[in-house]
């Protein structure tokens, strides 16, 4: 059986930072397992930037960054974790800068910073509109430098633990199709988000299917704040592909069919740079009230207008956005406004972890978007996700190094391997009454209807019923491809089954959270209710397969909840 001191699952920003941290300690055996080659990871799709109170453009401080983050979270973030992240931000930015990350620069050679939504100052460090891409490349380069071992194109199937300590994972080598148990003293999950639940309209990569999150759920461990899913205000009309908040940070306008900058009615002060949950609701309201546009395919949208920024600025700061708009919408933003609409984007909820990434199982960590620490609470601010992944990737790597140096391997129950083999075998022999593409699309429609930008009790309850029905019907999915080598039919089926597991954990707490907070907006309870709901939701799956909901207090240090106005 393969065996490592530390196994990192996922090779995006969090996974690679954890790997770098562990590679500094000589003599440890560490591997990074990923279902894609490292630089394919979705960190690379992050465009606009990463927040840190460097104060290079305007005076700033980690305290102000923390306050903005807590306020942006609608006071659901754990403030000790937020303070830690914001305090570490300037140093970790410089650390990556010292690794060669090609940040855009000010004339005096220092790192440039741009304004972003919900931030009081220009605080977002960036590399044009490809910040995540260059960050991922830089971290990968450093991992090569440090000789990190990669298991590329391996797919996580399950997490093995004995109720107290982690023993390792079961995973499939996609190239050979073989299923392996991998023993490890510590496992760091850095498997990314799950917004692919909203399959038909999301900014996420095809593989952001919450594989780690679903495995944690199946392993009987808690997920936190799953009802909170961020819809990014500006996805491209047809595809939902991301148009960075940096486009508005650089001065872009949102325009309705009356030609108005409608944000003046929703956030008169911050306008287009209000937090994402507010801007997304504003766009949807404009469309609902008949002030949107409609194309002949029936797509509804508003315009993101960058024309007044001028050719030079667009080419220099937003070159990739221009390409995407040309390639995917046939629109050159220098000449025409870009048609946009909100798109499912970010999972605030995830694996319940503390501020060192620790889960209730010793040796099992979670970092990055798959984790809920929580630093984003009910709504994440733009530029804080890249920061979250590197800070908590680093911290969980550090803590794992300390943990494994004092501990041995836990016994590995090999029947877990057999169980996964059987689960997969059954997919080949099912009756095939249901089709993957149809179910995937149905799940997406149900989730958008019941757990989208606007929510209410009746629709959510219908959605829960429907998700449970889809879960039953999914038992009839069949894998038709009988080959072992790179069986993408099998992989896509397994990914969908993960999405179905996750969908239920989003809707259940959403029904019970009878208030509006951040991205969770209920038309039947439009006000925030701190008295009853200033708390994290926890979902676990019991032995009987039923979900159980409980609550956990929010950590408040110095920022008392107040009304959120922008």
């Amino acid at each position: 059986m393969l065996q490592f001191d530390i196994l990192i699952v996922g090779a995006g920003g969090a996974g690679l930072y954890a790997a770098l941290e562990t590679s500094r300690r000589k003599g440890l055996s560490v591997a990074v397992l990923s279902k894609v080659y490292p630089t394919r990871s979705h960190t690379g799709a992050a465009q606009g930037g990463i927040n840190a109170a460097l104060g290079n453009v305007a005076p700033d401080s980690p305290e102000k960054h923390a306050y903005d983050t807590v306020k942006g979270s609608d006071f659901l973030a754990d403030q000790d974790a937020v303070e830690l992240m914001c305090e570490m931000a300037p140093k970790i930015i410089r650390e990556m800068e010292h690794m060669g990350l090609p940040f855009s620069r000010l004339r005096d050679g220092r790192i440039a910073q741009r304004p972003f939504g919900g931030a009081s100052f220009p605080r977002t460090c960036y590399a044009a509109d490809k910040t995540g891409h260059v960050m991922l490349q830089t971290l990968y380069e450093q991992c090569l430098k440090n000789g990190v071992r990669f298991l590329n194109e391996w797919f996580l199937l399950s997490i093995v633990h004995n109720g107290e300590r982690v023993s390792g994972v079961v995973a499939m080598d996609l190239r050979s199709g073989e299923i392996h148990g991998i023993r490890a003293k510590a496992v760091i999950l850095a498997t990314g988000g799950h917004a692919r639940v909203y399959w038909n309209r999301t900014s996420n990569a095809l593989g952001n299917t919450g594989d780690g999150t679903a495995a944690v759920l199946r392993a009987g461990l808690p997920l936190k704040d799953m009802e909170f899913v961020q819809f990014h205000p500006t996805g491209l009309r047809r595809t939902g592909i991301l148009v960075t908040e940096g486009a508005r940070g650089e001065g872009g306008y949102l325009i309705n069919s009356k030609g108005e900058r409608f944000m003046k009615r929703y956030a008169p002060e911050k306008m287009e740079l209000a937090p994402r949950d507010m801007v997304s609701r504003a766009i949807e309201t404009e469309i609902l009230e008949g002030r949107g546009f409609k194309d002949d395919e029936g797509n509804e949208f508003v315009y993101l207008d960058l024309r007044h920024l001028g050719r030079k600025k667009i080419l220099e700061r937003l070159p990739q956005i221009r390409e995407l708009a040309i390639d995917f919408e046939g629109v050159d933003p220098i000449e025409e406004p870009i048609p946009v609409r909100p798109t499912a984007h970010y999972s605030m909820g995830g694996i319940d972890a503390d501020k060192l990434g620790r889960t209730p199982i010793k040796g099992l960590y979670a970092a990055g978007e798959c984790a809920c620490i929580s630093v984003h609470g009910a709504n994440r601010l733009g530029g804080n996700s890249l920061l979250d992944i590197v800070v908590f990737g680093k911290l969980s790597g550090e803590d794992a190094v300390n943990y494994v140096s004092e501990t041995g391997f836990a016994p590995f129950d090999e029947s877990e391997i057999k169980r996964e083999e059987e689960r997969i075998d059954s997919l080949f022999s099912s009756d095939g009454k249901e089709k993957l593409a149809d179910l995937r699309s149905e799940l997406s429609d149900v989730m958008s209807y019941g757990a989208g930008i606007f929510r209410e009790e009746k629709r959510m309850k219908e959605a829960l019923e429907k998700v449970r029905e889809i879960k039953e019907r999914a038992k009839h999915l069949k894998v038709y491809d009988g080959e072992r080598t790179f069986n993408t039919n099998l992989q896509q089926t397994l990914e969908f089954l993960n999405l179905v597991d996750i969908a239920e954990t989003i809707v259940l707490p959403a029904i019970e959270r009878k208030e509006s907070r951040g991205a969770h907006y209920r038309t039947d309870y439009p006000k925030r209710d701190d008295e009853n709901f200033l708390k994290h939701s926890i979902v676990e799956r019991g032995e009987d397969g039923e979900l159980r909901l409980s609550w956990k207090p929010v950590v408040i240090t110095k920022y008392q909840p107040e009304e959120r106005k922008y």
Binding site: R94, P102, L206, A437, R484
Partner: protein, 321 residues
Amino acid sequence: MEKREVLFRIKRFNPKKDEKPYYREYRLTVPKGMTVLEALQQIKDTQDPTLAFRAFCRSAICGSCAVKVNGFPKLACKTQVFNELDKFGTDTLTLEPLDNMEVIRDLIVDWDRPLKRMEEMKPYLVPDPEVVPRTLDEESRVYPNELKKFDSFTDCILCTSCFSSCTATQLDENYGGPFQLARVYRFAVDPRDALKAERSKIGYAFDMWNCVRCNRCADVCPKHVSPVDGIMKLRGLSIEVGLKDNPGARHVMAFYKSLLESGMLNEVLLPLRTKGIKGVLENLPVGIKMILKGKAHSPVMKPIAEHETLIKVMKAAMEVE
């Protein structure tokens, strides 16, 4: 909305099972705007679940889905079916795996060889203690004009399109490869790097002089990177650090000298200056034919009109670089 009936010819191969690759045909009704990747997924969803291809971000940043579309490497996710049909004046698209790499299955190729190659070429910053601060209390200063020198090369998404169409890669086992050499250059001109121009020695060791400047790497790059530009500049750096005594450097210097002397390329002296007597002997049969056909010029050439101006232009160009 406009729709077209399209025939997709897709190259299939499972080395574990098939003796040799074969083509399978799929017919699909394609609406305007549909990408090659969406078409592939639709074929997989509705006609043939066994079709194997890679895809991830579907927004042209992860580099997973590069395949050959009618012979040219493309990111399937950002390539619209109609555009390709119109370009080729056809209703058929042939989809094949990238070249220069082994096929794992259907459109999926083995990236390990090109990535391993890059790994051997120090593709990471080695910080210069003179520039990169020792503590995390400060950042290094990089001025916008310095960033400009290497910024475009950081756009590379490792999709291996350039590698797949590189002619030098086909012929020379030891050749570094376009995206790999371009990354060597990217660090060679990063002011934070300790190795700086010395990195060109890595390029030299990996046969950068074997690039034939066919420009295919730049033509096919979906991110508009021009690896060949990086390779040419890396060659220049190698001459600066003293790697002059080799055919490649001598060839370039011979061009340069010719231009300084006359403003014209002296093709008679070129083989001698590049490869010495051996070069002359090698080129003798061609040379004799040229003389017989009256195509050869005298080894002594008269400077062109306005030679002085040309020299000024050359000097100015050197300063800019």
